[in-house]
Symmetry: C2
Subunit: 640 residues, 2 copies
Amino acid sequence: MLPRGRSRALAAAALLLGLLLLAGLFLGRDLQPPGGGEVQAAADLVSPPQLLHVAIVCAGLNSSREVVTLVKSMLFYRKNPLHLHLVTDAVAQSILETLFRTWMVPALGVSFYDADQLKPHISWIPNKHYSGLYGLMKLVLPGVLPPGLAQVIVLDTDVTLASDIAELWALFAYFSGVILLWLDRLRQVGWEQMWQLTARRELLTQPATSLADQDIFNAVIKEHPGLVQPLPCVWNVQLSDHTLAERCYLEAADLKVIHWNSPKKLRVKIKHAEFFRNLYLTFLGYDGNLLRRELFGCPSQSPAGAEQLQQSLAQLDEEDACFEFRQQQLTVHRVHITFLPHEPPPPRPHDVTLVAQLSMDRLQMLEALCRHWLGPMSLALYLTDAEAQQFLRFVEASPVLSARQDVAYHVVYREGPLYPVNQLRNVALAQALTPYVFLSDIDFLPAYSLYDYLRASIEQLGLGGLRKAALVVPAFETPRYRFSFPKSKAELLALLDAGALYTFRYHEWPQGHAATDYARWREAQAPYRVQWAADYEPYVVVPRDCPHYDPRFVGFGWNKVAHIVELDAQDYELLVLPEAFTIHLPHAPSLDISRFRSSPDYRACLQALKEEFHQDLSRRYGAAALKYLTALQQRPRNSA
Amino acid sequence: MLPRGRSRALAAAALLLGLLLLAGLFLGRDLQPPGGGEVQAAADLVSPPQLLHVAIVCAGLNSSREVVTLVKSMLFYRKNPLHLHLVTDAVAQSILETLFRTWMVPALGVSFYDADQLKPHISWIPNKHYSGLYGLMKLVLPGVLPPGLAQVIVLDTDVTLASDIAELWALFAYFSGVILLWLDRLRQVGWEQMWQLTARRELLTQPATSLADQDIFNAVIKEHPGLVQPLPCVWNVQLSDHTLAERCYLEAADLKVIHWNSPKKLRVKIKHAEFFRNLYLTFLGYDGNLLRRELFGCPSQSPAGAEQLQQSLAQLDEEDACFEFRQQQLTVHRVHITFLPHEPPPPRPHDVTLVAQLSMDRLQMLEALCRHWLGPMSLALYLTDAEAQQFLRFVEASPVLSARQDVAYHVVYREGPLYPVNQLRNVALAQALTPYVFLSDIDFLPAYSLYDYLRASIEQLGLGGLRKAALVVPAFETPRYRFSFPKSKAELLALLDAGALYTFRYHEWPQGHAATDYARWREAQAPYRVQWAADYEPYVVVPRDCPHYDPRFVGFGWNKVAHIVELDAQDYELLVLPEAFTIHLPHAPSLDISRFRSSPDYRACLQALKEEFHQDLSRRYGAAALKYLTALQQRPRNSA
C-alpha cells in the first residue's frame, strides 16, 4: 500500500532527520515516484515472503527499554519477516539478547554488532555528548552491515510505527523501475571516504559539541545533492514544540511514523499531542506476548527452541489434572533483565546479593527492604507490560528506591495462570553478580546488620576456599502489621518470649524450619552444623554457582524444599549463623495462593510433581537419594 | 484502501453469515466492482469527514461486555466519525448508556433502539432460543433505523475488526458508479413484506427451533437472488473448527474482520488460532481511555460535557501544589456498570445493600465478604481494562463468588495517579437498588448477623416513614492477620478485653470514631442517639437517596468525614445500633497510600481542599454550617 494523492505531502519532505532512510542515499536524482500502475508492482515487491531489514543503534540501559516500544509497534503492524540489525554496547546487548531469546517471536531475526568495536572509526570526531558517539555510528553502517545486505531501514529508538513498515520498504521502489541495491551503491561510490572528508572539512569551522551524525549527513548531502531522495513527511512526523508537522499530518489520512524528537518527549505541548501520546502508550503497555504470532503465507524459521517447545506443549494431556502445572512449567517467559538503571557492584571476594522475586502486590515491601538490606539485590518481578510501566513510575516517585543503584530489577512478563516462583528465582539468581547470594523471599525483612554480618561470616568461615556450605539465616514471623523491628538478637529474643514474634510458620508448618534448632540458636555463640530433615526449607546464603531451583514447582508448595534437598544431595554443609535473623511480615494471602490452596486437584498435582522430582533425584544421585524418598513416604500428610 | 488482485478471494464470498452487510441487499446484480481508476474514487468517498453508520443488536449483560471489545477494535483503526445504532434491551441499554457517556470518545455518536418494542414484529416467528429473538431483529432494521439513513454496516457482537471499517464502507461503492441509498432501496422494494412472506412460507416446512435470522435471510435470497452482492471473504473470516477460512486468509495479506462464530469462541482449535486469539486479546485488554483521541482533518462534535471539561482542565494551574488533586477530581472515569451477571434483588421495603469500592489489591477480600454479608452488594472496582479481565477470571474461578447473583460489580476504569475514592463510592451508591444502603469499606468484615439485624432495625425504628436517620455500625479492628471472627457481641467484648481487638484506629485516629461512644455501646440494649463531632467518620446505614460523597476528596483523607458532615448538615439523626459491629482486617498499606501519605504537599493540599469544602458548606447551609468550620479551626492538627 503506497500513499496516494499526496504530492503536497511528498513535497514537505522531512529530510534525514531522526528517521533516516538510508535508501534515500543513492546515485542520481532523475527517478520519480511511479504512477498508479507501478503502485501495484511496488506492493508486490514487499509481499509477505520478503524479508525486511531494519537497523537500530541502541546503547545503554534506558535505550534498551525504549527500543522495546518501537519494536512492539513494528511487530504489531508488520506482515513480513523482519531482521533487526542492532548496534549495541555490552549493556544493551546483554539485555536485548535475553529479551529476544525469551520473546520467541516467529519470523524475527536479530543480529548484534558491537558498538565498541566501531568507536575507533568515529571517535576521531571531537564529541562531548556521550550518546552523540552512538549517534555517529549511523555513518558507518554501510561498512558494518553484511556486504550481502542490499537495503536497510534505519530507525532511531524514539520512534513509534503507526503502520506496516513494509509500506516504508515499498518506497525503495520509488527510486527506479528496478531494484537498486542501495547499500551496495553507497559502498561503490565510496561512502566512507566521502563522509569522512566532509566531516574533516566541517570540523575546521564548526565547534565540536554540535557535530552529531545529522550535521555530517546534512553536510554530505549539501555537497552531493544527487545522493538524496526526499521522504514523504508522513514517514517522520516530528513532535517538538514548534513542529511544522501539523501541515503534514492534517493533509494525510495515514500517519506512518511518529518521532518523539523533542527532549520533552511525551510531555511536548502541541496540538493533537494526545493522539500521538495515545499511540505511544498503546505500545508501551502492549502485551508483547501477543506478538509471538506466526505470519501467514510465509513459512518462516521458528525462533530457537520454539519447535521443541511446541512439541512438548502438544504432548501434554489436557485431561491431566496437572495440565496447568505442566503447561506453566514449559512456558518460556519473556525476560527483560536490568529493567532500570543499575550499577554493578565492584568485585569484592565476600560480597552477598539478596535474591528474591515478587509481583505487583508486594511492591510496597521494596522501600522497607532497601532500608534493611544495604547491599546489592537482584530481584525478579512478575509483571504485565502495563504493570512494568507502573513499576517504573513507582520507583521514580520513591526517593529511597531511586537512590539505590545497586538493586537490579529483572522483569519477567506474566503468562499463564500459576505463579512461576522457581523460574523467577532462577532469573534473579542468574543475574546476581557477587560471589555469594542470600536466597530470600520478598515478605521478609532481614536484621539491619545482616549484610555486614554475612560478609564477615563468609570471610571468617573461609567459604572463599573449597568449603561447600549453605549458611542458614533463622526465620521468624510477626502476626502484627504494626511492628517495631528488633535491633539485636537480644531484642528479638525478648519479643519472642513476649509472644510478639514466633519462629516462622510455627503454627502451620513447624517442620519447615524445625531443623534450624531454634533452642540451640538462642544460646549459640558460634555457627553450628545441622542435618537435613524432611520438608526443611531454611533461608540460606550460598555461592552464586549453587544448584538452580527446580522450575517444575510453580504456584505455591515445595519450591524451596526441593532446592534444599538438592543442596544436601550435593553435600552442602548446613551451618546456622548465631547472630543472623530475618522476619516475615504479615500480608493478605496473594491471589495466586487463595485461588489454588483450597483445590484438591492442586494438592494432588503437587504430590505428583514431588514424586517425579524424587524419580529425577534417584536418576541423578543414585542410592544416595533414597533417603529423601523414604523421608517423604514416612510423612503422613503431604502438604506444603 | 481496497483489496487488490483478490478475485479468487472475492469468489469465495462469505454470504451474509454473521457479519451482515445490509448494503449487500440491493436491486439488480449487473454491477461489478470497479477497476483501478474507481478505487481512488471509492477511497475519497470515505475520507475522514464522512460519517459512517454501524448497527449492532446487543441484548443482555454478557453481550454488552462483548460488544465493548468489538467497539474498541473499531475505534482503534477508524479515522472517520462513527455513529453506532444500538438495538438493546433495558439491561444492555443502561450499561452501554453509562459506558459511552463516561467514555467520552470524540467523533462517536450513539443511538439506542428499544429491542422490546421490536419484539411484536418478530415474536410471531416460533423461536425457542432466547437470543434467537434478538438475532431476528436484524430483519426489521430497515424499518427501525431513521428513514433518512441510507446505508449502514451491521455487525454481530462477536466480531473483531482487524482494519479500518471505512474500508468496508468503501465496498458500497462497488455496487455502482453512483451512490445508492441501500436502506432506502430495501424499503422501496417492500423488504418488510418480502421477508415476512418468505418466513411464513418456510415455517410450513421447517421446525421452529432452527429458524434464526440467517435462515430467513438465506430463504429470501434464494427467492430473490438479485438482491445480494457477495462480500470478499476477508471481511468475514469465520473461526469454527471446520472453517474453510484458511483458503481465504492465506491468499489475502490483509484480514479485515474476524468472526468468533464457533460456540468454542477463543478455545476453537484451528490452524493459526493463535493469531486470531492474539488480535482479540489485544482489544480485550486495550486501555479504552487511549481511544478518546480527536480525529484529524474532521472537526467533529465533542461528546457531551467534553468541551467544558477541557476548559476546566485548561484553567488548572500546573504550578499549584494541588494540581494532581484537582485534575483527578475533574477526571471523568469510564464506567461499566454491572460488569458481571447480576440479578436485581426483589423489591423489599427494608432491604439494605452493602456499598463499597476496591482495586485489584483487595480482590482477596471478596470471598470473605460474601460469607459475612448475605444480602445484596454494590461494589465499584477501580481497574484497568486488562485487570477487568483478570477480575472476570477470578470471579469465574471462585465457587463462592460465582454463586452470588446479588452482588453487582461496577468497573470504573483507572485514570490518573490518585485513587478517586469518593467518585467510586458514588458509582456504587448510585447503582444500589434497595431502599437502604450500608456504606462500608472493603477491608471490613461485618458481623455475620448484620444483614438480618439491619433489616429488622430499619423496620422497628420506622425508618420507612419520614424519619431521617443514619444508623451507626460501630467499627473495630484486629492487629492480627489470623483471627477468629466473633459470633456475637459478647464474644467481641471478650476479645476487646483480651486485647485481641481494638476500637477502630484507636491508636492513630481515635477522634474518627470516639463519638460512637463505645463505653455506652458496651451496655446499650437499644439504639441511642449521638451528636456529630469534628472528624467523626462512622460506618452508617442510610436511605439510598442520601447525599453523595464529595468527589473533591481523592486519594486518602477526609473522604468519609466530609460525608458525615453533609448528613449532619441535612439533619440526619445519628443512631448507634447496640448489636451491630464491623471489624477491620489488617493489610499492607496500599500503594496509593504509601505514595502520598509521606508527602508534605499532600497534607497541604488536603488542608486546602477542606477549606474549600467548608466555603461550599457555608454557601449551601448558611450560618448553620459555621459549627463545622469552628470545629475544624479549634483542632490543633489537621491530619486524616
